[in-house]
């Protein structure tokens, strides 16, 4: 499964720091749901193949359970994607 493009609301502070606040994902019935990003566990800059990307590991609340997701911001194209890692593809479908 490839990384999935997602809609994100983010804030940019005066120091140029980027913080994602809300993310919109599809639920089981393919309806779009907005989730608040409760906390950011860590973020780091990646430069694989020379392409600059900001990785955010964050928590969102899905019903009663906290779900950790990785989202990436592509600095050049201004796009957000959700990382579908192996361990996550096991969990996300039933939670979402």
């Amino acid at each position: 499964m490839n990384h999935m493009p997602v809609d994100v609301i983010a804030t940019f502070n005066v120091q140029g720091k980027i913080k994602p606040n809300y993310i919109r994902l599809e639920d089981d019935s393919h309806a779009l749901q907005t989730y608040k990003i409760e906390s950011i566990v860590y973020s780091k800059e990646e430069k694989y193949a020379g392409v600059s990307v900001l990785l955010f590991c964050c928590n969102i609340k899905l019903g009663n359970c906290m779900q950790m997701i990785n989202i990436k911001y592509h600095i050049k194209t201004h796009q957000w994607v959700m990382v579908n890692e192996l361990h996550e593809t096991k969990e996300t479908p039933e939670c979402l």
Binding site: N2, Y48, A49, G50, V51, V53, K76, T77, Q79, V81
Partner: protein, 420 residues
Amino acid sequence: MDKVIFHIDVNSAFLSWEAVYRLHILGEKTDLREIPSAVGGDIKKRHGIILAKSTSAKKYGVRTGDTISEAQKLCPDIVLVAPHYDLYDTSSKAFMEILRDFSPCVEQYSVDEAYCDMTGTMGLYGSTVVAANLIKDKISSELGFTVNIGVSSNKLLAKMASDFKKPNLVHTLFPEEMEKKMWKLPVEELFYVGRATTKKLHTLGIHTIGELARTDLDILRSHFKKYGELIYAFANGIDLSVVTKEETPNKGYGNSTTIAFDVDDESVAKMVLLSLAETVCARLRKDSVMATVVAVSIVDFEFHHASHQMTLLTASNTTNEIHKAACRLFDELWDGTPLRNLGIHTSKLVSGETMRQMNFFDMDHYEKLSKLDKAVDVVRERYGDNSIMRATFLNNPIYHMTGGIPPEKRKPNNKEGIKE
């Protein structure tokens, strides 16, 4: 102080970059480097050769430059991907940037190779091999692809060393190691020794680099002239060239294209020449130089090459003028055989600021045309190459700006970033 030179070479560059992009940016699961795979051109457009291959494809005998059908015959399961030059440009720049962190003197030798002058950095990084491993590991952890580094006291030996066992390794080849590490290698492995020279050397009974190094210089001189001295010096590990940061200025500008069909119509050929003149002249104008010599090259359907050149009355970089010269050359050169490849090359450059000799018989209104070209360049710079084109290219299968890298090969999936 003894010189310390590194030669850094990306392992199967295009393929590695493609693989890392697919893994980390697109989020695909297969690593192209771990399966038989290759980056190759488009068979339909007859650009079908292998540009880079994975190690496991190499095991099947696939070589860079093979045609795609040859590669598929050798390895039926080979995964072929199209090239994306914009990505390679990005990766290459990031690669050079890391090298510049380690050395003040980095010479980019090609898109995926560079020389670093590391003389005097022992105080910073410790021994040369430690420094080389540091660079190698930093590139692999930050950028995700692997490199080979050759360490020596001059550029030639460093380059030879980076070509030893791959991938992801550091090798040294100091002059005292030459006998053990380089002399036993076949002579065709030596830098600058191509296929033709190899054949000639073999008939002289020279098969290894060591044999070449011990050959009498006069024998080589009589067979190869000046070039004989060069390969003799190289075989003995002698190379006096230095690592230079400055880019050497271009000596000529040229573009060529392989056409998707065989051209047997003069007007079509001239249209292709016009589209080539567009890109060549745009490059000349961008670097504000003018060319005095124009050459046209053709390759016919049986792969026979031919070329023809002329000197212009005055140096120029206007598309119309270069195209006119190219057409004249083409008329003199072409005998009607169907063509698969056309090219325009310009040389003997002069700075664009030089005064132009006015010509009494200037029927082409040079000044007007040169102003027009300038205006077109500005429009294309701002709104893209396709924002303005000659009407003759409307509804025409020939793209109006041929040569260099076509737009569809630049961007991954025709779009920067994420696949939709």
